[in-house]
Symmetry: C4
Subunit: 494 residues, 4 copies
Amino acid sequence: MSFLQLFRKTKSNKQYDELTIKSTLLELLFFIVFLAVISIITLDMSGTSMFYMSSMIKKLFIERPFEVDNDVEITFGDICLIDDYWVYVNNVFLSGIYADVGRCDKDARTNMEYQKFTVLKENLLMGPPRLKQLKVRNDSCIIDEIFKRNFRECYGSYQHSLEDTLPFGPNNGTPWTYHTSEELKDMFLYGNLHIYAGGGYYLDISADSCKSESQIKELQDGGWITRGTRLVLLEFSLFNTNQNLFCIVKLIAEIPATGGIKTSFSIRTLKLLTFVNSQNYFLMICEITFLIMVCWYTMVEILELYSESWSYFKSVWNIVDMLIILISFGSFAFSVYRLKYIEHKFDEYMKFPNKYISLDVLAFCEEQYNNFIAICVFLVWIKIFKYVSFNKTMQQFCTTLKRCATDLLGFGFMFFVAFIAYAQLGYILFGTENENFRTFRDSLFTLLRTILGDFDYLAIEQANRILGPIFFITYIFIMFFVLLASVATNFPIE
Amino acid sequence: MSFLQLFRKTKSNKQYDELTIKSTLLELLFFIVFLAVISIITLDMSGTSMFYMSSMIKKLFIERPFEVDNDVEITFGDICLIDDYWVYVNNVFLSGIYADVGRCDKDARTNMEYQKFTVLKENLLMGPPRLKQLKVRNDSCIIDEIFKRNFRECYGSYQHSLEDTLPFGPNNGTPWTYHTSEELKDMFLYGNLHIYAGGGYYLDISADSCKSESQIKELQDGGWITRGTRLVLLEFSLFNTNQNLFCIVKLIAEIPATGGIKTSFSIRTLKLLTFVNSQNYFLMICEITFLIMVCWYTMVEILELYSESWSYFKSVWNIVDMLIILISFGSFAFSVYRLKYIEHKFDEYMKFPNKYISLDVLAFCEEQYNNFIAICVFLVWIKIFKYVSFNKTMQQFCTTLKRCATDLLGFGFMFFVAFIAYAQLGYILFGTENENFRTFRDSLFTLLRTILGDFDYLAIEQANRILGPIFFITYIFIMFFVLLASVATNFPIE
Amino acid sequence: MSFLQLFRKTKSNKQYDELTIKSTLLELLFFIVFLAVISIITLDMSGTSMFYMSSMIKKLFIERPFEVDNDVEITFGDICLIDDYWVYVNNVFLSGIYADVGRCDKDARTNMEYQKFTVLKENLLMGPPRLKQLKVRNDSCIIDEIFKRNFRECYGSYQHSLEDTLPFGPNNGTPWTYHTSEELKDMFLYGNLHIYAGGGYYLDISADSCKSESQIKELQDGGWITRGTRLVLLEFSLFNTNQNLFCIVKLIAEIPATGGIKTSFSIRTLKLLTFVNSQNYFLMICEITFLIMVCWYTMVEILELYSESWSYFKSVWNIVDMLIILISFGSFAFSVYRLKYIEHKFDEYMKFPNKYISLDVLAFCEEQYNNFIAICVFLVWIKIFKYVSFNKTMQQFCTTLKRCATDLLGFGFMFFVAFIAYAQLGYILFGTENENFRTFRDSLFTLLRTILGDFDYLAIEQANRILGPIFFITYIFIMFFVLLASVATNFPIE
Amino acid sequence: MSFLQLFRKTKSNKQYDELTIKSTLLELLFFIVFLAVISIITLDMSGTSMFYMSSMIKKLFIERPFEVDNDVEITFGDICLIDDYWVYVNNVFLSGIYADVGRCDKDARTNMEYQKFTVLKENLLMGPPRLKQLKVRNDSCIIDEIFKRNFRECYGSYQHSLEDTLPFGPNNGTPWTYHTSEELKDMFLYGNLHIYAGGGYYLDISADSCKSESQIKELQDGGWITRGTRLVLLEFSLFNTNQNLFCIVKLIAEIPATGGIKTSFSIRTLKLLTFVNSQNYFLMICEITFLIMVCWYTMVEILELYSESWSYFKSVWNIVDMLIILISFGSFAFSVYRLKYIEHKFDEYMKFPNKYISLDVLAFCEEQYNNFIAICVFLVWIKIFKYVSFNKTMQQFCTTLKRCATDLLGFGFMFFVAFIAYAQLGYILFGTENENFRTFRDSLFTLLRTILGDFDYLAIEQANRILGPIFFITYIFIMFFVLLASVATNFPIE
């Protein structure tokens, strides 16, 4: 039941029909305007300039090749030795950071301030980049009885409880002393292998490139990356005044307990301040319209909730309405909070330009906010189906659906069991060697993609010469057979 | 109603049947000859030599790797720093241009004329290549209140109205002075990020390679590419006497407001003079036949239009006929104009071989001309269906179609709404990081391609670890479900 | 009617039934043995060692990177300048040829014979490699009136009739004098752009690597590759004693009239002598069995032809039988001829080890022979359907097919017209820039592959920003709609 | 019949219904717990750390580029000359092995022990790496009469019976003397071309990198890789104490009789000791539960077998039960044996750290064990269908299936014959040049993948310019036609 219907109830019955049509039309009009306004606002939110920002940073720090020993060219993703990593830090990372101010030159003045630092000419470095590591303790795994005679050191996989928090090495600065995540104000980090806590041993890289080079050299020579190191993280934030964009870059190097380095990265670009665009007059009108409409919408829904009480929650569309309203209000609140937070952070940066600024919390919130907005718009679009549900085709479709629901569920269950069985089989058989079956979840998605025609048969065969092909063929046959049978049985076209 | 039927009307009724068959057969014959002639002419128009010209130029200027600092190899597409760009200009571009005459040699004579310049031995350089840039003004964006204390410079995204037209730098020549698009006779340019106007600061690169090297050096050292620069364009035209081909090359380097460089290119090869081929006798006969047929065709259609007046426009086939005739005449007119224009341009080039010649207008017209011709031929092919429409299968097909038209439309609408909703969701969720969802339009096409089995699941997962997979699975299920349901309900095979 | 049925006719009627079953079973047995024998022989014919031979040669000469000026690495396929080509010849080709004997060393003896030359240790070089070129005449294209004032040279696309046959350059040897294809005993060559005749200017590369280096240098400095050059070909043959394999390698560099170089290659490995394998006893029995069976088979078919006269040709299976027999006899004849031919060539090679030996004719015949054999085996397999045609399912299937044959043809025609129309549209719109639409034939196959889900949307969009996407979407919709409609209308599942 | 039904038989008839439900529910509960326990155990078995171990080793030894002569970069997979191989061994392999201890330094002490050797910091090298080769005899193939005059050496493809076992070269150590597979305790090896026996000529690479370099040099200069060499193998084992993982690495270089080198690799990571994880308490409980359940399960099945005797084997589910039990017991037995074996091997390693340790037998067993476990879990999952078989949908589905079984078989046969015919045709036509049709088996899978939309049309066209496209088109049409016809005829949706 929609909000314009509320008025209808007070009228007499004979005016009913005319009013129904009118109210439905008015409601539809309201809905269309609402949809238009919310679409304009959200489509403006994620412009292509954000994509280009991310992609330029990626080009500079991730895709740029560099030379390791023996004149061999690799990129960030190819790093597998700790020596490679240090070469990367020196040749790609520092070069990227100092590209606009020039690398170390003994004769030039060395009193640089981060306030003048830019990356790719246009992006201000918000405080120094930070190099951070997390270690695990020596006793972080249990050595088997057989080996205990010979081995005394054992560094397990990363777990927060196993973190090493003791100072080590020369112990003469932040790189050699543990700091908790409260001290660093960093949030947890999603890596490829684990979720890492926010603390660690860190080094804020100096604005003076000569000094930073010697800092890095010191860490490298002093064996900063030890056997227990499980994560080495380079993080920095950029701010682009032209477009009011923030970019939070994390260059992640995970060291599994099996050695080697698994690199990954996270480049999140945020448009934090939407009110200062050049086309802001039109947008502002939209936003105000949106605000008013949401208020009106809320009122209507409250009235409806009041009149219908619990039966209100029985309709799916009412719940959709509520979700839309809640997310809308949440986003207003967040917008205001965000503005304050940024202002605060920026003041801090202005006062102490050489102090590291963590925008992790902001980025996390912003991302959640963005997700909620996206879902909100999606729900508004989906609400269209509410207005076309009286359509004959739709009803016919729904009737067909209801009639064969149990059959569909039956086949769905069969499908699901076969799917899970194959996913687990694939995980056990190929998980050790084939990236697509690396985890149970990957295995599930790989099999889903196989149905859609996106598969890598040769990798399956390489992982298991005999069972691989059998797995593939039987899977294909069973899936297509079940799908076909299900379709054929469930759509008894009359 | 077709043109041979016109005669029928004057005859008595009993001769009707025989005449109908005759006229239909004659019409069909006319049509087949027409189709053959137009196919021969157009298939000749775009020979493979044009493809090879484009692809060789691409190989030489785009795909050729070059070394930047640290002995690292990149190609045109990998450029992301302004320094890289200058290395490219020096090592790839100038090398390509001077490949056949040799790079700067102090002892050799330096009085070169462009008339003797060739690229890849066979392609004459039509005047000097031009290096051009477009800048935006300092006040081209609004700095937020919070930042205003600290930042005074702001260079926004490119818009024509925000263009910087003031002289800058040493201000001692064309590279430092703005010229309008009227002065330069250049057309607008489609880039990846924006559409750029035709004006700008430019440098015509000297035929003397020693001089051009110092010119480029001067620009590089003088900071020609400033913070406000939004487009750096290298353009030149080639002419191949062997095949009478023109090739208009544009090497585009866009600098987004977020910094970095986004390179792209446009290599358009045109066959401007079709009458001078070696196999021209046969082709000439075809073209004359075509001319005569179009005239006859036109006459018939005019008679028909005269006899049927407004009801003429009710038949789709009549409109198709009219379009074909209009495009045909348009193409004749353009062919004649083109010949004159080229002759004029070439005379100009002969007189001032060191003056830059812009073929932009020609290329644009030629491309539109080409598009119209292509559509014309397509329409002629489609006209076949007119002659087979009495076929039983076709009628049955049409009947089926009409009966389920409303159902199809209903499902089409559902499909369309779900599609748009997902496209917007994808754009907001992944647009910042995934190239395939960069713009709303890209998002639409990406989702269309996903249905056809061409998707990149890993990139979606990388862009959003949690909502990415959910988006993908629900999309797949809903689309296939709706498609299946639509097919099953709409084709009630009796 | 099969061969065992012939006896039946002489018997009385009451023995008929029993005999029918017996004869059918005997015929089936004969057929199964025949199928087994022919499968064994042909599966042995193309062993994996042939694939590895081709792939190793490809790795060595095609995929091996080399450095051109500016320390940039490219491979054979990236060559686009004539200078690159000479670098390739020196650094990859000569290195590959001389890998086992060592490159030029002044102090070492220089009297090498090709008989001792091997490639990849195991493959004997059959005579010297040959470097050959084809040129076109200066007047091979017509210069337009406008340009005639300025240009006097014009070298058109390759055509046999336009070939330049005059001596040029220093005119002091085979590289500067034309030789006809009769003199060279070379066959025509399928290139990417044209079919080239067998004559040309050639150089047989010396066994003495010091000499060959100076020969190559002489050609390079003397401007051997002129503006008129349309093909530069490197060809040589290898023989592997271990496996009795011949490998005929052609490294093709085509120079279109638009300049640049389009490289391709042809590596054909032939197993010419099948009787000398180590497992030859079993194979020999198979071959003899095959010979006997073919004779018996022939006799039966002749008898049948005699008894049925013209009605014999009405049955498809009889024609299949005849084809099988003809191909079988043809292959016997060729096997014998081949052995003689090879022996003759080898004798020639033994006598004049430094003379170039052309195996082109042999390779061509062998390939045709191979194709015929392949088709023959395929026909034998297809003959199985003859024996299962009494099957109920098959009959039902055939009945269904016959009933909807006209409908299918109608839809097939619609499909075909739409397909051709789109192919021509694609060719005209994208042919200049997109490799997949380069020729009309490529365009056809690209559209076929698109239906199967193998397409490159981004390349279409890049070639035409506006019509590309429209082309793609309408094509997809029309094709799938026609397909669906065709299936739905034609399979009225009862 | 399930185990809880056994009790039912002793009860009176009227308690039957209630008991049936109870017993079925109990059985289901037992089954669910069993499924959960076995899933937990097996999902733990193959963790992602095993994948990362394999992938890091792969990155270091396989994907790492290296420079051969002419400053050209290639990787392990690009190796095609024997010289390349030696460069690989020196620059990549030895560098990887000695990365943590440093390459040869004359001044440093050279008395290294393998016990201190690590790869990627964390992985202990279990004894020295071994370089091994296999050769074939000179008379391993038959030279044809024509060539016998000129060639006396012939080295055929690898076969165990043709192995060369004579000492050769300086004959002063293991590299020049043949050792049988019994002596070396190595198992056979699956290569790309052949299966190789375990014996050969070998060199255990010294822990002293100076010494090992000279050893390798000696082999290279002494011509260790001869014309007869068919396999060069580098093998070593790593042990990771942190995760209790063994990694058995084999770097395979096969030399076909046609020359060149075909490289491949096998990196198998094993988790041999499951009882020592940090989360072992929960896992241990699971394993004990599993043990108890299997015993109970066994008992039930034995009782059932006893009561039903031969009719027991008629039910598919009973056979599945038996398989599950047998595999479970087998795995217990193997676990115990494995522990002992490893302990023994490790003791050996501790005593003689510089002696090569072959873990081949273990790896082979472990892999089989892993396969059996995977199949066991799959069977348990599939058993779910036993419990849902009373479902109405399933029954309907089965009925449909039975009714059209013969039709399906008929079409299946047609499909199969056409498939085989095309596979053989493809193998003969393209096998020499197209990797996907290299063997008959590859050809089969390639055609299967083609139906699923994963094909490489251009490679087919490149292999045979005329028959390739015809093959492709006819295959596509026939397959889709047969599939469609089969579906349309077999699912007569009522």
